[in-house]
């Protein structure tokens, strides 16, 4: 099984990049959600 390490490295790094990208979207979404709440609370009621 020559070069099996390279194959595993390619798949694991590739999946890792996708996972990190998804985590970055989730984090940015949570930050914005908190910002929306903060801004809604800072505006007068009825807005």
């Amino acid at each position: 099984m020559k070069n099996l390490n390279s194959v595993f490295a390619a798949y694991l790094i590739g999946w890792g990049v996708f996972f990190l990208f998804y985590i970055s979207i989730a984090k940015r979404t949570n930050d914005l959600r908190a910002e929306v709440e903060r801004l809604k609370n800072s505006l007068p009621r009825g807005k």
Binding site: S6, Y11, V17, F21, Y22, A26, T29, V36, L43
Partner: protein, 225 residues
């Protein structure tokens, strides 16, 4: 939310199934052996990346034509996902190249045009961070996105027009090209899996951009108080 969760679950299941098929269903290639199994991940990512850039191009054209905010959101979302997929291509390629060619990188037509493509879409995203005013940002980045897309057909045809280090195409490569039928099925399944994953990531990124626009409106309202 429910549909997005289902799409995410389907994408994960398909990517896992594609990896299983790449290792256990596809036969071993005669010349490269197990190393050739990177092909199913590497090329599927490249195709999904180019299709994400095509979607970005269409959204950019629609923005210039109709000036709808949703086209700007779709443009930036598909550009970012295309960039992530191209990053995976630029990482998995050298991992494959080192044992196959003895080098990680060479400035051949396919590798160079892909690297230029990556730089163009990094510039597209950087450009967006430099312009404050939303409509001006959307228009200028749409125009830049239309220009950046010129490199996508160059990447696709580079291995057909110039015979350098990168192998000739095995799919749609004309007479003499082609894959073993089982390899072809596994490859097409991998392409499908990567497209569903890309669609899921574009939808998630689009919702983020939509929320960002909502924050901008609220900020302006808060500043006007």
């Amino acid at each position: 939310m429910g549909k997005r969760v289902i799409l995410g679950a389907v994408a994960i299941l398909l990517v896992i199934a594609a990896a299983y098929a790449s290792f256990y269903v596809a036969p071993e290639e005669r010349t490269m052996g197990v190393l050739q199994r990177i092909f199913y991940f590497h090329v599927a990512s490249a195709w999904a990346g180019m299709d994400a850039f095509l979607l970005c191009f269409i959204a950019n054209l629609l923005y210039v034509w109709k000036r709808g905010q949703k086209y700007d959101w779709l443009g930036v979302s598909s550009a970012e996902v295309g960039l992530v997929l191209t990053t995976v291509v630029l990482i998995t390629g050298p991992i494959w190249a080192k044992p196959a060619w003895g080098i990680y990188w060479t400035w051949d037509a396919r590798l160079t045009s892909t690297f230029v493509l990556w730089l163009l879409y990094v510039s597209y995203l950087l450009l967006r961070t430099l312009i404050e005013e939303p409509e001006r940002r959307a228009l200028l980045s749409a125009l830049f996105g239309i220009f950046a897309f010129i490199d996508v057909p160059l990447v696709f045809f580079s291995i057909r027009w110039w015979r350098t280090q990168h192998p000739a195409p095995v799919i749609m490569g004309g007479p003499g090209s082609g894959l073993d039928p089982t390899m072809n099925k596994v490859f097409l399944f991998s392409v499908l899996a990567m497209h569903v994953l890309a669609a899921f990531l574009i939808v998630e990124r689009y919702m983020l951009e939509k929320m960002r626009s909502e924050v901008d409106i609220l900020r302006r309202e808060a500043e006007a108080q």
